[in-house]
Symmetry: C2
Subunit: 493 residues, 2 copies
Amino acid sequence: MIRLLLFAPLLFVGSRALAFQLDELTKYIDSHQEEYVQTLREWVAVESDSSDVQKRSEVERMMNITAEKLKAMGGNVELVDIGLQELPSGNSIPLPKVVTAQFGSDPAKHTVCVYGHVDVQPAKKEDGWATEPYNLTDLNGNLYGRGASDNKAPVLAWIHTVEAYQALGIELPVNVKFIIEGMEETGSNGLDAMIISQNDTFFADVDYIIISDCGWLSRRPALTYGTRGNCYFFAEVEGPTQDLHSGVYGGTVIEPMTDLIGILDTLISPGGKILIPGIPEAVAPLSDEEWKMYQDIEFDVENYKQKIGVSHLMYSSKVDLLAHRWRYPTVTIHGIEGAFSAPGTKTVIPAKVIGKFSIRQVPNMDPAVVEKQVTDYLNAVFGRRKSPNKLKVTMVIGAKPWLADTQHPLYDAGKEAVKKVFKVDPDMIREGGTIPIAKTFQDVTRKSIIMLPIGGFDDGLHSQNEKMSRYNYIEGTKLFVAYLHEVGQIKRD
Amino acid sequence: MIRLLLFAPLLFVGSRALAFQLDELTKYIDSHQEEYVQTLREWVAVESDSSDVQKRSEVERMMNITAEKLKAMGGNVELVDIGLQELPSGNSIPLPKVVTAQFGSDPAKHTVCVYGHVDVQPAKKEDGWATEPYNLTDLNGNLYGRGASDNKAPVLAWIHTVEAYQALGIELPVNVKFIIEGMEETGSNGLDAMIISQNDTFFADVDYIIISDCGWLSRRPALTYGTRGNCYFFAEVEGPTQDLHSGVYGGTVIEPMTDLIGILDTLISPGGKILIPGIPEAVAPLSDEEWKMYQDIEFDVENYKQKIGVSHLMYSSKVDLLAHRWRYPTVTIHGIEGAFSAPGTKTVIPAKVIGKFSIRQVPNMDPAVVEKQVTDYLNAVFGRRKSPNKLKVTMVIGAKPWLADTQHPLYDAGKEAVKKVFKVDPDMIREGGTIPIAKTFQDVTRKSIIMLPIGGFDDGLHSQNEKMSRYNYIEGTKLFVAYLHEVGQIKRD
């Protein structure tokens, strides 16, 4: 293997030639901008909402479109069966197949594997969208549509990257693999098992994994080196055997909703302090270096407030805000299932209610420990109420946080690529959200991982009016092209 | 008028003749049982759910069926236009017309007006019904179906009462009017205005108003002399301009749900004590006589617990339970609009959430005062949280409690009728629920009102598997027949 490496063609390409190739690739991307937007339009038009089983055929159609695209480019493409999804009804339906693809298998080159997803969050015009969510709408340089930024445009930008090299007859500086799934928005159901089962095959020759399923923090490009985990809980309080009329029974029964509200109110203080014993104590302390790094990050607090539309945030300083977004845990109460949630009035005592909340998790918290801490605490709080109702606490998601080594050559390559394309140093950032698959890749494949975002800071992921700017889409494609160049130059061990 | 009265034919009917007539009427009712059940089946088959505007045509069809039935019996029937319903969308749709009818206008007789409604609560098989809710199902002497007890069978029992007199050629001992509406389950929209506008016409010659929209407390028949009122509140907490991703933003924003849970948790203690200053103090004290009356009432606490399916109630003694059901206020938290309420998981920070709760109201509380007490209290509690979010507290329903004079001849007539038909003394009971129209009748028409229930204690109103027993339906019709006899004998002022 070492000997072969000496004859690898890449090594004969000098730095001038590299600069020339990058220039050509950049021009090619600029001149194909409209085609890229058109492809994104076609992809956004597919309502690949993985949370709704009624839309499953659309997710499957999206996987096929992705596979066909990669096949047409000459990739070695597979649609991998990852089994069944169990529905609450007890029935099962097939999970959308995972698309894998491979471009090049030169053992002299590094092999990168790009992970992405083409399923989306739900969206309806009446949720408050200004445009039709599945009709990509080009307004003032922004491309509005569900899934535009999360994660269809980034996946396409990687595809355009390979296409550009191919179209210009420039050899790819690395072998490129793809793994594209269709269940990310509902927990990447089935993907962990697939990664485990293909660890010695598909992943055997992979050196690095690249994830572009996130965004910048500001207008300055960024490299992402950490994500929070997520422990998602159901707290179910069950009382009467069926819903009761609140006039007829109110005052005689101890109502499950009163109990649930009572215990949910003990999770977090008005000022944001987590009240569950053991959780604040488990958090890795903020180091001086981290503090300094946060100080240097471009982050406009006023702009952030304005974007969210609030007059005050939980903290007023930049460092506090970034730290509480990225490296401190937090509790969010999402809602209650089983209670009255429609518009209007209903005089009901709900018989069984399920409070849903999640704790964003950080080093050095451990989901198994968090599960016990939360369960013990809520049971103790509930016990003090002396309620005859039954409480059942369940952790339904236990996704670990992920943290990368920012000194790794993958990150140096990222810094170089950002400098070449954007003429600035990237911000080194973390994500408040969870990309559980990063942790799985790390734990199962033991490969190094980088998150290389091209999404904008204001893309509105999971929200109304999601968009991808033309700028980020096109310059992002250039970033990926440059990044492959840089990764190609990483010295092999 | 006085002179005419002396020649009224009723006065010439001796008590023996009366007993004979009652006997005949009773036999007639027994022999027409299957027809009555069949008519109820036809009525239950109409999905007259007034809460769902999509079902409005079914409510209208139900009003027409009711009107046609009364016309066919020779009543003087009107379908009264009561205007439009404003929808949240800003559009308006016509309210279902109110049916009024009159049988007899003999100035020598008393005139009673029977109030009822033929709209129903929502019901779907998948809510947990053992049978199809709109297909009346006869099982072990129970007639299962949505609206069977609330309020279609009682309305029909009144109609059968008039029919029976007519069929046997026995003169009605009183003039009978009907006022039947189709919006009771959603707040009797438009009815107050209609009563006010017809106060000097339709209601001018009415002496007494009879409402049979309630149930017994046990297997023992009952007369109802009070209902609680209802103050229904929306507490809206508004924060960010749109829903946010809880991973990306969690820890930096003060979440509306945390605030809402925090303030809802200050309404009522785990033991049922209302924590809103001024409300417990406003409640009329429990008199010794009331206490004794409650002691005498047939009420099986164990049975009540079993029916609800709980191991412990808020209070353990019969008197405490009855008092807290009927004559003490209570707070129920119904649910939250705007938060995540579906099955599964969603990592959302809801931007605007509306907590819905109601306070059952009793003498001497006043809705206007309650509105101020609740609003002031929640604003103060919210203020202490120092949240940047906005709280808006609105009272959307402010229905007053109603209490009758149990010494009135209407109640004596009720006691006599119960004794004649069931051979027992009735329980004198109150309702925990609200029948706001009772208070309107009282305040607007100044007529005396009685609630004369025939529903069973376990009919499951507003719940799954609502039913009316054959026994209550048929014996209830006999009770109404006997009651008209008794009212006919009340001395005129």
